[in-house]
């Protein structure tokens, strides 16, 4: 990524200000992206996304500088978006026709996914605006919510109470005990599947391909036990392709995609890949 804008590197106080401004401006990468797009009055369905890439990168660098360190989960979201944007921009810089078909496809897919998620986010943002308006309107009305009239209170069934002070204290102790600090980072306790390593999937693909030379994408993914594995394998293929370890052949759009092993070294090492820090596991 490009160097941080020099303008944004002032004294502590200045950095602090930037930090606050950033936080009030947006939350999350989609919010930032939408913000940038709307400021330039761009339509997010246009390729114009490439035009806001620099701004996006500059923004996240500034936050990083101000905050000192990233929370891992947030950082990864920002980085995924940033990486996709950079890919898109890179593609735009190349002379027309100079890109290979397969790369185009991958790029289009990345772009579509980013657009899709951005659209989805925008839709919910719009719904949030709607909810806010509804809530505000409803705030103007107050429900009748008055204490029960005394003569009805007397009719309530006699309360059965069977707790000793000690039992009652135990209830209090349980409720008042500090709750398990919910991690500020993403908890993974609720994640369903075990994490799948892109690196491992790459090695697996390598074994499959080196044995047989070329295989269809369908064949390479048909034993994927879950969607998660499928995604990881897809990402692994993209990594392999970028490193020149495989090539793609496709006779016609939407026809069978054939993957061929092209690396010369015996062992292609996924671990050497810097990108793995960002999406080594999904």
């Amino acid at each position: 990524m490009a160097a941080a804008p020099a303008v944004e590197k002032p004294a502590e106080a200045g950095a602090r200000q930037v930090f606050e401004v950033q936080l009030t401006n947006f939350s999350g990468p989609f919010d930032l992206l939408l913000n940038l797009i709307s400021r330039r009055e761009l339509d997010i369905t246009e390729i114009a996304l490439a035009q806001v890439t620099d701004e996006f990168i500059a923004h996240i660098r500034r936050i990083q500088a101000a905050e000192g360190e990233w929370k891992l989960d947030e950082a990864s979201e920002f980085l995924v978006v940033a990486a996709t944007l950079l890919d898109l921009k890179a593609a735009r810089l190349l002379p027309a026709g100079a890109v290979e078909d397969a790369e185009d496809v991958a790029l289009l897919e990345a772009r579509d996914l980013l657009f899709a998620r951005l659209l989805q986010y925008r839709a919910f943002k719009e719904m949030a605006r709607h909810l806010a308006a509804r809530l505000e309107e409803e705030d103007a009305r107050h429900p009748r919510d008055v204490p029960l009239e005394p003569h009805f209170t007397r009719l309530l069934p006699e309360l059965l109470w069977r707790h000793s002070p000690e039992e009652f204290a135990a209830i209090a102790a349980k409720v008042l005990a500090p709750r398990e600090e919910q991690p500020a980072a993403v908890g993974i306790g609720h994640l369903h599947a075990p994490t799948v390593s892109v690196g491992e999937q790459a090695l697996l693909l390598q074994e499959l391909l080196q044995g047989r030379g070329a295989l269809s994408f369908r064949h390479l993914t048909e034993d994927a036990a879950s969607r998660l594995v499928l995604v990881a394998r897809f990402l692994a293929l993209l990594d392999l392709f970028r490193d020149g370890a495989v090539s793609f052949e496709q006779a016609a759009p939407l026809s069978e995609l054939v993957v061929r092993w092209t690396a010369e070294d015996e062992r292609w090492t996924a671990e050497a890949d810097e990108d793995d820090d960002e999406r080594g596991a999904v």
Binding site: A116, A140, A184
Partner: protein
């Protein structure tokens, strides 16, 4: 306060009391501290729910200033300072909207602290995607939502519905209070999200796996 009416525990059918069924329904509305259904009112009065519903609808119209079928005559009349609304699955009396500033002094302990933008967005995702896990909401918003979800839980706007049998993740949904605060009858009353977003369903799937 003049008339000393019949004593408690009387066995007269409500129709024979001054004001009749209509007033009896009103009396119940006065002590309700949450939305009440046709059936709840009908049960207390021992009358068919359909009949009670007709009375409620009629009262609603009368309070709003339409007295066509009411007992007051056939003219247009002045709206009352309160309104009867059918929301969150039940009927409840509210102060009329345009007196908001006048009423505000008398309902000091209002629970209506503003929701942050993050809370609103998270609430929107939960409302439209329920039952939904925190992980999925996070994926859609692109940020961690743990603390925001906690706030929404405290405010009583969302609740833990169940545990996903497959993943063990807690799934969240909105509450009756949410509907009440929005003045909605049910979740179906939320505006359709479709116009904003074609193909949303399949996207949701995608988000779940990428997180």
């Amino acid at each position: 306060m003049s008339e000393e009416a019949a004593p408690d525990g009387l066995e007269l059918p409500v129709e024979e009391l001054p004001g009749g069924l209509r007033a009896a329904v009103e009396a119940i509305l006065m002590v309700a501290d949450r939305p009440v259904t046709d059936e709840q009112v009908a049960a207390a009065l021992d009358r068919p729910a359909g009949q009670v519903n007709a009375v409620l609808v009629d009262l609603q119209r009368e309070y709003d200033g339409y007295t066509g079928s009411g007992s007051q005559g056939a003219e247009h009349s002045v709206p009352r300072g309160f309104e009867l609304r059918n929301i969150a699955g039940g009927w409840r009396i509210f102060s009329r909207k345009h007196f908001a500033s006048v009423v505000a002094d008398f309902v000091l302990d209002g629970q209506s602290a503003r929701l942050s933008q993050a809370a609103l967005e998270t609430l929107a995702v939960i409302a439209y995607r329920q039952p939904v896990s925190r992980a999925r909401v996070s994926a859609i918003r692109g940020v961690n939502v743990d603390s925001v979800v906690r706030t929404l839980l405290q405010r009583g706007l969302v609740v833990e519905l169940e545990t996903d049998p497959e993943t063990g993740a807690v799934l969240y949904g909105t509450t009756a209070l949410f509907l009440e605060r929005l003045g909605l009858g049910s979740v179906d009353g939320l505006p359709r999200i479709a116009p904003h977003l074609p193909g949303l369903e399949s996207l949701g799937e995608y988000d779940e796996t990428t997180y």
